[in-house]
Amino acid sequence: MTLDSANKAPWHCAACGIPLEKAKVQIAYLGSAFPVDLLRCSRCGIVFIPEELALTRMAEAEKILEDK
């Protein structure tokens, strides 16, 4: 998986004070759900979506699902 950058991401959960860990998270759009590997706080569930994922891969997936 292409999550090298995410694995190295230095983010900690501010509320729980612990570093994020790799986890399978569902993301959904227009009635379709997909599992993706993201960094997540194992205690409160807050996740990290890197800029690259949001602007390229997610944007592309959104476009496909919107039938553009």
Binding site: I27, Y29, L53, A61, L65
Partner: protein, 196 residues
Amino acid sequence: MLYSTAAGQRHLCAMTGGIMRPGGFSLTDRAIASCSFPAKGRVLDAGCGTGIVVEHLRSHHGLLACGIDIATCASRPFAQASVYSLPVKTGALNGVLCECVLSLLPDAGRALREFGRVLAVDGYLILSDLYDREQQGCMRELLQCCGFSIILWEDHTKALRELGALMALQGLDHTTCLETKKSTGYYLAVARKDTC
């Protein structure tokens, strides 16, 4: 094959739980549900790949399933064979599954006639594949010409798009394998072999 490189296939395999095509097992299950197979019905998966669907048919549907693939297969109940010439006696099967294979063949009609040969009268043919949504009549006509009556025809392009979206999320190039044309879609069909 939806994805032509080995690395791509491994990804696709992982994403679809090993089944490597849009819809995963859900389309296969949907098709089986619209057939009335006898218990321990004999079913062949033509183009079975790793044989994961054959296992599924055995474990979840109680069918006597086997598979063939043009690529080398590990062991029985899988055999290496061409869909044009199945190692099966005439009229011996209750069902043939052919998922995501026909669109790759140079002569789909020949394969369909071979499926017709091995099926018993009233046996079921289950197809799911890519198609050109602007010319869906072609496939339906071909089925009829080859001696089948269509009992189910459904568009499942959404499943194709979902697989495309999943590939996009993984950073894989979905354009080369899934969206060759804007009108490319995915269908599920069940047909029954006619009496004569």
